[in-house]
């Protein structure tokens, strides 16, 4: 089971890399740079507060059994 999950992860990673790279240059950007003013607004920043995000992710990792899938978080425990 464990090996299967690891292998699945590696295959998925390879497929995503190839899918990402194979289309380079052939797709026209459908949102032009001059149309991205709203996306450039600070309220649209996906991680505007990295220190706070890292801290709250650490709290959830210590309080719940799940982890990952939300970007990186630090090591250590502090979770008793």
């Amino acid at each position: 089971m464990e090996k299967r999950v690891t292998r699945t992860g590696r295959i998925l990673l390879t497929v995503l890399v190839l899918a990402g790279l194979s289309g380079c240059g052939s797709i026209e950007p459908w949102v032009k740079p001059y149309e991205r003013d709203k996306l450039a607004d600070p309220i649209m920043a996906l991680d505007g507060d990295p220190v706070s995000t890292a801290y709250i992710q650490h709290v959830y990792e210590a309080r719940e059994g799940a982890r990952g899938g939300e970007g990186a978080a630090g090591g250590g425990c502090g979770c008793n």
């Binding site: 992860g9 996306l39 309220i43 649209m44 996906l46 706070s52 709250i56 709290v59 799940a66 990952g68």
Partner: protein, 357 residues
């Protein structure tokens, strides 16, 4: 694109379940030329614990965890390469992590693909046994995709697999088993976890710019691991700016199944090969309500403080409630079989100053 130059000084405080954890976190990021950016972070947890886990089987304690990290980002064309080193030290737990990532902007910067790998090397010790020392190794594989979908909508997809091998127990925690010879009706013995764990998480986020100047974000994460924990996490956020203020509200819901070797009460001593009664491995549901206010006291309008162009202060409060569906509250002293289920309320407070230069 390289991240903005900034410095953050944060104070955090977690207060819940008779555990208090507080301390500072300081981050400084600075570019060197047009293609390099350096980042450093110093973080401290000061822990004072009389939690449900320690009052039933051990003694309250205080300790400190110090973590520091340093990293570098290198931009070449549309590619950003990053390397980061993190070190965390406690009296009984050391962790070192080295991580690498490569990000590629594509399709006129509509798409960013990130591949990452991290290697963690931990050392688990036990404060009351100086001879105890066990290793724990960790590898993290990640793929992230950030995609601009429309003029108003941006999305991210994150896939992360974590494999761990080594000592995954908590050396202080015990399981309880039915024991008719005991006055309480049960006795305790040490936990015994499998020495490997592989988990996979897939997370998706969508943030939308509303017709007036505000944003809404939806998040979902699916989690599964080889200990049979499956989790679903949903969150909904609303971000509303008003003059120099930005207000954010967020509700987060998390639900998970328990680990296959978890029991609240084992039928007998050494009933199963692996045994755990760590409440985080129990079936549980958690709810978080977050309220945040940020005030920009220095705007990028020419009236800067020397080299500092922007400054803001942010305060946030997370109200966390966890319902454990298979973890009894033994502190109430109820007879065996009549113990109530445990639940936890925690207040998580943060205040931080951010300076951009």
């Amino acid at each position: 694109m390289l991240p903005d130059d900034r410095a953050d000084v944060l104070y955090h405080r977690y207060d819940g379940g008779d555990v208090t954890i507080d301390g500072p976190s300081i981050l400084v990021r600075k570019k060197a030329g047009k293609s390099l950016s350096f980042v450093g972070n110093y973080y401290v947890d000061m822990i004072s614990s009389a939690s449900i886990d320690v009052i039933t089987t051990a003694s309250p304690y205080t300790e400190e965890r110090t973590q520091w990290s340093m990293g570098m980002d290198y931009l070449r064309g549309n590619t950003t390469m990053s390397v980061n080193y993190t070190s965390s030290e406690e009296s009984d737990f050391d962790a070192e992590t080295v991580s690498f990532s490569v990000s590629q902007d594509m399709f006129g910067d509509l798409t960013t693909l990130t591949l990452s790998y991290a290697l963690g090397d931990d050392l688990v010790r036990k404060s009351d046994d100086p001879t105890f020392e066990e290793p724990l190794d960790r590898q993290i594989y990640g793929v992230g995709l950030t995609q601009i979908l429309t003029k108003n909508l941006i999305s991210t997809l994150n896939f992360e697999t974590i494999t761990e091998e080594g000592y995954l127990n908590n050396p202080y925690r015990s399981v309880r088993y039915f024991d008719p010879n005991s006055e309480l009706g049960y006795s305790y013995e040490g936990e015994l976890y499998p020495n490997t764990r592989t988990s996979t998480a897939v997370g998706v986020r969508l943030r939308y710019f509303l017709p007036y100047r505000a944003a809404i974000e939806g998040e979902y994460r699916f989690f599964t691991d080889t200990w049979d924990i499956d989790g679903n996490t949903f969150a909904l956020s609303y971000i509303h700016p008003w003059k120099e203020w930005t207000f954010t509200g967020k509700f987060r819901y998390h639900d998970q199944t328990g680990a296959h070797f978890y029991r609240d009460l084992f039928a007998r001593s050494e009933e199963t090969n692996f045994r755990g009664r760590d409440k985080e491995l129990s079936e549980l549901t958690s709810y978080t309500l977050m309220m945040q206010a940020a005030y920009e006291f220095l705007r990028d309008d020419g009236n800067d403080w020397g080299f500092i162009k922007r400054g803001k202060v942010t305060a946030s409060l997370n109200l966390l409630h966890v319902d454990y569906h298979d973890f009894s509250d033994l502190s109430a002293g109820q007879p065996l079989g009549e113990e109530p289920l445990y639940d936890l309320d925690a207040n998580i407070f943060q205040i931080y100053f951010s300076f951009f230069y």
